[in-house]
């Protein structure tokens, strides 16, 4: 932690204290990112490339059909934008931290983190912030705006607020599932393994839910709720929701995932016996 933060994090109490710690951590991350400017720009290019690639895929599909289930071309493009937006927010705040968990365990740095006078889950989840991913969300927003114009949407303030809140639920689902996966690394599996695994799940999140039926849909709604993460915010924004129950299911599943991750995390920490001793 950096010493030159104006308010000493140790004096403050409660959430204010955590806010000031987080501010210091963010400042630290930005300074580190700016030391590697070329790399920073290259990562932006990588993200844009993958984003473009998904849009190409959908464009190719729509050059051979005019709908997938009930979804039209620009509805799906909006969905891809939204999925990317939520994914990038998750990257910005959480992803790097969680993929580093198994490295912390291997090197024994976790022991040190457990000794600090802060909640270990807070530190493990939020230690670094990825500025580049915040920049990448701009591309996602641009795509959503473009698709929105093509769809001739006329959103009101309620749509923006609702979309933002549901996106937060989506980020929470990504975060919780990733933490559950990472907790497994207390016992087995190297970090690259599950980070890579999770990238495969992102692929499901950006597909329209109407494309799926039966077991697959149920599994990715109620077991691994990938089909809720971006689909529900999108459907709310483009006014495609069939019933308010869909919003409720997103909120419920986000809550359930958070709870599951907390149980898993506590279990893992409780059974943690340092790597080196």
């Amino acid at each position: 932690m950096r010493k030159e933060t104006r308010i000493s994090p140790l004096i403050e109490t409660g959430w204010k204290r955590y806010l000031s710690i987080y501010a210091a951590l963010c400042q630290n991350s930005i300074m580190r990112d700016m030391q590697f400017k070329v790399n920073f720009v290259l990562w932006l290019i990588v993200e844009l490339l993958w984003f473009g690639l998904q849009i190409t895929f959908i464009s190719v599909i729509y050059s051979h059909t005019d709908h997938i289930g009930s979804w039209s071309r620009y509805e799906v493009i909006f969905l891809i934008g939204a999925a990317n937006f939520i994914q990038q927010l998750f990257h910005a705040v959480f992803l790097n931290n969680i993929t580093q968990l198994s490295e912390h365990i291997r090197t024994g740095r976790l022991d040190f983190m457990l000794l600090l006078p802060v909640n270990p889950r807070f530190l493990v989840s939020l230690r670094t912030m990825d500025l580049g991913s915040y920049v990448s969300t701009l591309a996602a927003i641009a795509v959503m705006v473009y698709a929105g114009i093509q769809l001739e949407l006329q959103p009101g303030i309620v749509h923006f607020v609702g979309f933002a809140m549901m996106s937060v639920c989506g980020v929470m689902i990504h975060y919780s599932l990733m933490l559950i996966l990472a907790s497994i690394s207390f016992w087995t599996i190297k970090a690259e393994g599950f980070a890579w695994g999770y990238y495969n799940l992102f692929n499901v999140a950006r597909l329209p839910d109407a494309a799926f039926k039966g077991g697959f849909k149920a599994f990715f709604t109620f077991a691994i709720p990938m089909l809720l993460v971006a689909n529900i915010p999108t459907k709310f924004f483009i006014q495609k929701l069939q019933s308010p129950m869909e919003i409720l299911s997103l909120i419920m599943m986000a809550g359930a995932c958070l709870l599951a991750s907390e149980i898993m995390w506590r279990f893992a920490i409780k059974h943690y016996t340092s790597a080196s001793s």
Binding site: F36, N39, L42, W43, I45, V46, L49, W50, L53, T56, F57, V60, I61, S63, H64, T65, H67, I68, G69, T188, I189, K190, E192, G193, F194, W196, G197, N200, L201, N203, V204, L207, A210, A211, F212, K213, F216
Partner: protein
Amino acid sequence: MIKFWNGWIKYGHVINVGIQNTLAYRMNFLFRAVFTLIPLLANILLWKTIFSDKAEGDMVGTYNLSQMVSYYLLILIVNSMTAVNEDDWQIAADIRNGVISQFLLKPMDYLAFRFSLFLANRLIYILVATIPVGLFLLWQRNYWTAPVSMEALMLSILSLSLTGLLQFLISFTMALLAFWVLEVATFIFILYAFEYIAGGHLFPLDLLPNWLETMLYWTPFPYLLSFPVLIYLGRVEGQAMWNGIIVQTVWLVIAFLTARFVWNRGIRSYTAVGG
């Protein structure tokens, strides 16, 4: 003659050690194999939905539903057999940590050493992936198609091995960039993105406009993944197939020469910090 055999024995040992090291990560491989199936299944279901809204017998490009699904199933097999998964990161790490210093002293060629490890890696991956991939194929067996002819089968196997070699050499060369840059991951991901779309991983390339498809067949990307599948399915035949195999071989030679060239330049600029 004895020298020649000693060479083989030497790398045989490397393969052996590689297998034993890789076995430690069999869970990782299993995890990976299972997770690969998820987006694949999603894509298959996506196409099923698209086809179900079309009239009976309608095609997407030149594909009907079962041809489309069998394309994806074959891509899965080629990908499991040939894709590089950790080799490139390990090579980059070897360079960064100075491990390669010892290869400059030992009578062992780093490229051949790495290739032996790649073989060991693939062998274990294929063994581990057989269970989940096998079950998946069994489940989707209705869409399974036999090779269009015996000749096509043989040539697709030939092309498959060229694909594996090309995959390895390109990843090897990309990882060597670690001689000059701190982080090679970005470059690897950029290449991987191109391979993902231009190699035919996401969709068959003939769904693209004709001019674009033709152009892509001059790049190495289709030969990194989908070309053996197209031979197997009889989608390239006769002269076009032979031309393709020639182009694939030419890319392989170029990749090999580039790998050698980059390696030689790399060690020249290598300073073995702290070593």
